[in-house]
Structure formats: structure tokens, C-alpha cells
């Protein structure tokens, strides 16, 4: 039994045991996604605030659905429609949400560290749904669950991450998680996206600019979305990225024949990944989406279910 976490802010501060606990707790919720009736009353009467200060579709829908399948209500704050546009400060917005008495807040923000800032000031659990270029912990957990289901372990696997490592919170959370389990991590992409400093993120990191070399013998290949808003940065045309780094069937053959292909979505077909790979037998992309629900249900159950972490338990003997 794990002591209840007050928040889920990142993978870096979690122990391997805590991560394993969450992966194990996600298993019953995976089975639940196949139930004909997908509605629990476990968190009935609880409210989860879904505060996305940055555009998102899939993560927002996933968290909203996870909360709803547990029986909780959600209150949604969307960046486009919010008063942020009118100049309200982050803390004022969050305090306004808090005044409506939610039991937890799921938060995405374009600034790294924003959820930590909020968590220090609120009484309720904060779940980080992605902060700037820092962390996206639930993505790393759902990726680990997907890998563990297919490979039965994380230890000793060779995982290659392709693309814009520098700006990717998905990569960062995955690197922290995989390194805690002793997986071998190879990072690959154009030099401005994979600078030498990425080697310091964790031990056992290999960095290469050559995709063929990066894929050699890999057990898992994670492609990241090319953030097109950044591709015009120092001299890299999309055609050049495609020519040098697109994951194609030919290149994938260098990985192990049963290597998994993963993508956090949204995929840009024809840019970072070829259609034949995205839809190929090694692709786990849709499994990742379903596992995302399971992981988020397990986390919401852990953080929101039961009495507040610091409340005295009603006398019961």
C-alpha cells in the first residue's frame, strides 16, 4: 500500500515503487474500458476542475472522460474562452475555480512549473496535464503501461525517442520514467533539437543525429510530433526533416522485428511518421489512447477518492 500522494506534478520526483504502483492500479481500469456499462459511482459527488490554459484536445477529453467514468463531475476552463484573454493572472483564475469547491484540479499550462506554483498555494490535489517543456507525467505513465503490457518489462529495453527532444515534455517525462527502470534510452533528431545537454537528463542516455544508428536494435520507437510552429527555426525545412528523420518502413526494419512504434499524438502523417508505419502492425498508437484513460482513472481514484489526505479519519474501531 502506497501512501497517498498530495499531487501528481511530474515523474522525476516519483520513486520506481510509486510508478509501479500506478501502473498496477491502471490494470483494473484497463479491463473496465471493455465493460458494456462504463460508469462507476466511485467518485460520485466529487468535482474535478479541468483547467487547460493551453489548447489541447486529446488530453482534455481523456481526463474529462476518466473523471466522468468514475462518477465525478467536471468543470472545464478553456483557454480560448477564458478570462485569461482578458488579462487575469493565473492565480486569480485558479482561486476563482477553487472557490467553486472542486476536489481536484487537472491543469495544463504553457509555462514550465505552473502546476507546481499552483499546487503550493491550493489545498486540493493538482494533476499536471503538461507544463511547458517540462513534464507530462500521465503520458509517460500510459506509455510505460503500453510497453509493459507488450514487453512484460521495462528493465533493459532499448527505447529510441525521435524528434524535438528539447521542447518535448513527453520526451522528458518518458526519459525520467524509463531511466528509473534501467531502460537504455537513445535520443535522436536534428542537432538543434537534440543538444548535448539532453544527455544529462538521466544516466544511460545515448544521443545520435543519425536515425539509422538510433533505430538499430531498438525494442521501442517513440516518435514525437514535429511542432510545426518550431520547424522554421534555424534552417530546417520540412522536406529536410522528412528526408533525414521520418520514420519509414525501411528505417523501422533496423529496429527489432517486434519493436513497438508509439506516438503521443496528434500525429502528422507524412512528416514525422509514414502512413505505413502509423497504421502498421507494430503501431500501438490507439492502444496508448485507451491506456491513457486507464492511467488517468487510476490517478484520479488515488488522488480524489476517499477523504482529503490530511483529514482526520472518522473514529472507527
Amino acid at each position: 500500500m502506497l501512501e497517498r500522494l498530495p499531487h501528481l506534478l511530474g515523474i522525476e520526483s516519483l520513486s520506481r515503487e510509486q510508478i509501479e504502483f500506478f501502473l498496477d492500479q491502471a490494470k483494473p481500469f484497463q479491463a473496465f474500458q471493455r465493460h458494456p456499462l462504463k460508469k462507476l459511482a466511485t467518485l460520485r459527488g466529487k468535482t474535478v476542475a479541468i483547467a487547460f490554459f493551453e489548447a489541447s484536445t486529446r488530453t482534455r477529453i481523456s481526463f474529462t472522460t476518466a473523471a466522468s467514468r468514475l462518477g465525478a463531475d467536471t468543470m472545464a476552463l478553456q483557454a480560448e474562452a477564458s478570462s485569461l484573454k482578458k488579462g487575469e493572472s493565473l492565480m486569480d483564475t485558479v482561486r476563482t475555480l477553487e472557490a467553486m469547491k472542486p476536489d481536484a484540479i487537472v491543469m495544463r499550462h504553457s509555462s514550465s512549473g505552473a502546476p507546481h506554483f499552483v499546487a503550493e498555494r491550493l489545498e486540493i490535489p493538482v494533476l499536471n496535464a503538461g507544463d511547458g517543456t517540462h513534464e507530462h507525467p500521465t503520458q509517460a505513465l500510459l506509455d510505460a503501461l503500453t510497453i509493459r503490457d507488450r514487453k512484460a518489462r521495462l528493465e533493459g529495453l532499448r527505447v529510441t525517442i525521435l524528434g524535438d527532444i528539447l521542447h518535448s515534455r513527453v520526451a522528458r517525462s518518458n526519459i525520467h520514467l524509463l531511466s528509473k527502470f534501467g531502460a537504455g534510452i537513445t535520443l535522436c533528431g536534428p542537432s538543434m533539437w537534440v543538444p548535448r545537454e539532453v544527455e544529462t537528463l538521466a544516466p544511460q542516455i545515448r544521443r545520435t543525429l543519425c536515425i539509422e544508428e538510433a533505430l538499430e536494435g531498438a525494442d521501442v520507437v517513440m516518435t514525437l510530433r514535429v511542432q510545426t510552429e518550431r520547424i522554421h527555426e534555424p534552417a530546417l525545412a520540412p522536406e529536410e526533416y522528412i528526408a533525414r528523420y521520418q520514420l519509414t518502413p525501411e528505417r523501422l526494419r533496423r529496429a527489432k522485428s517486434d519493436a513497438l512504434v508509439m506516438h503521443p499524438g496528434p500525429m502528422i502523417r507524412g512528416l514525422e511518421i509514414d502512413d505505413a508505419v502509423a497504421d502498421g502492425p507494430q503501431s500501438c498508437v490507439l492502444e496508448q489512447v485507451t491506456n491513457g484513460l486507464a492511467v488517468r482513472m487510476a490517478l484520479l481514484y488515488h488522488l480524489v477518492g476517499g477523504p482529503p489526505a490530511d483529514a482526520p479519519h472518522p473514529a472507527k474501531d
Partner: protein, 186 residues
């Protein structure tokens, strides 16, 4: 929960032989009262209902020559006391790999007490489909119901007081096998 509490054994309710004989009798009763074993399925409630349901299915196979499907139900997500219990209970898996629609289900648990576990189990089952019938089998019925729930198949009914605990130990889980009545003394 039992930190500051001493627990003393008052008496043994069932020995290992009596447990075995009781389960055999209950297996016969199930088949007899079901007009055969064809639509039957057993649902063991975690934890100790699970080995009990497996043993009952084994017994039914030995005399009725029918394989009765056995499923495992975890009721954690259906409990009504999550907002009051101490540490967050860990969710275990539910494994029911057959459709429950139109099945003749027998929920199997070790002890029937307040009835709240069975209420939770029924909610869990109905999330999986619409069974034809649901009945309950327990090894021990100790009274003190808080809900209108009764068992169809009962191993032994006993009178207990609030402070007493019925401890069922099964070799699959506890490495010994017997049922005891224990009392908590302050």
C-alpha cells in the same frame, strides 16, 4: 485498526474437514436448486470468495460433470465507504471472461455480515450485463444486516456480537484452514 486492540480466539466454528464437507453440501444444493448446472456461473468476491468459488466449481464438476464458469469480482470501486475509510483501498482486477447476460449467477463470499459487500458486488455485476438471476452463497452468516440482503445458500448460521469477528482462513491465502470466532478486547 487492530493496533491497540487485543484479539482473543473464542472458539473454532469450522475445522478443515467441516469446511470441505460444507462446501460439498453447498455444491449439491446449488445444482439441486438450479435444476441442473447449465446456465450457472459462480462469482467469487475478492479475496476469500475466490478460492471458495473455485472449490465449489471443482465439486460440481466431480459429481455433475459440468464445467461451471468461475469469475472473480473486486468490489473496491463499488464500496460505499470510500469517503470514510482510512487509507485508499487498492483496486484489484475483476476477471469475468464470460458474458453475464442471461446467466444464473451465484455470488460466493466467505462471511455475510452487514450486506454492504454484497450490495457492492451486485452493482459491479450489473455493470457487466443483465443476469437472469443472482443468488448468494456464504460459508458463514453471522447476522447484523444493515441492508435487506439474505443468502440462498448458507454453510453455517451463527449468533455473534458486534465486537466479535469471524475469521475465515483458507489454505490458498492463509496457509492454514479453519474458521474461528474471535473477540476484540480493549
Amino acid at each position: 485498526m487492530f493496533g491497540q486492540m487485543r484479539v482473543v480466539e473464542k472458539r473454532q466454528l469450522l475445522s478443515i474437514e467441516e469446511i470441505s464437507r460444507t462446501l460439498n453440501r453447498l455444491a449439491h444444493e446449488i445444482v439441486e436448486k438450479s435444476g441442473g448446472a447449465h446456465d450457472l456461473a459462480l462469482i467469487g468476491v475478492r479475496r476469500r470468495g475466490v478460492p471458495l468459488s473455485e472449490r465449489l466449481a471443482g465439486a460440481i464438476k466431480s459429481f455433475a460433470h459440468v464445467d461451471v464458469p468461475v469469475g472473480t469480482l473486486d468490489i473496491t470501486l463499488y464500496r460505499d465507504d470510500l469517503s470514510t475509510v482510512g487509507p485508499q483501498p487498492v483496486v484489484q482486477s475483476t476477471n469475468i471472461d464470460f458474458p453475464v447476460d442471461n446467466r444464473d449467477l451465484v455470488i460466493v463470499d466467505d462471511v455475510l455480515y452487514t450486506g454492504r459487500t454484497i450490495r457492492a458486488a451486485m452493482n459491479g455485476l450489473f455493470d457487466l450485463g443483465r443476469p437472469k438471476r443472482v443468488r448468494l452463497l456464504v460459508l458463514i452468516d453471522r447476522g447484523h444486516r444493515e441492508l435487506p440482503i439474505e443468502a440462498t445458500f448458507v454453510g453455517q448460521t451463527i449468533q455473534t456480537s458486534d465486537t466479535e469477528i469471524v475469521e475465515v482462513r483458507l489454505k490458498e491465502i492463509d496457509r492454514e484452514e479453519r474458521v474461528m470466532l474471535v473477540d476484540r478486547v480493549p
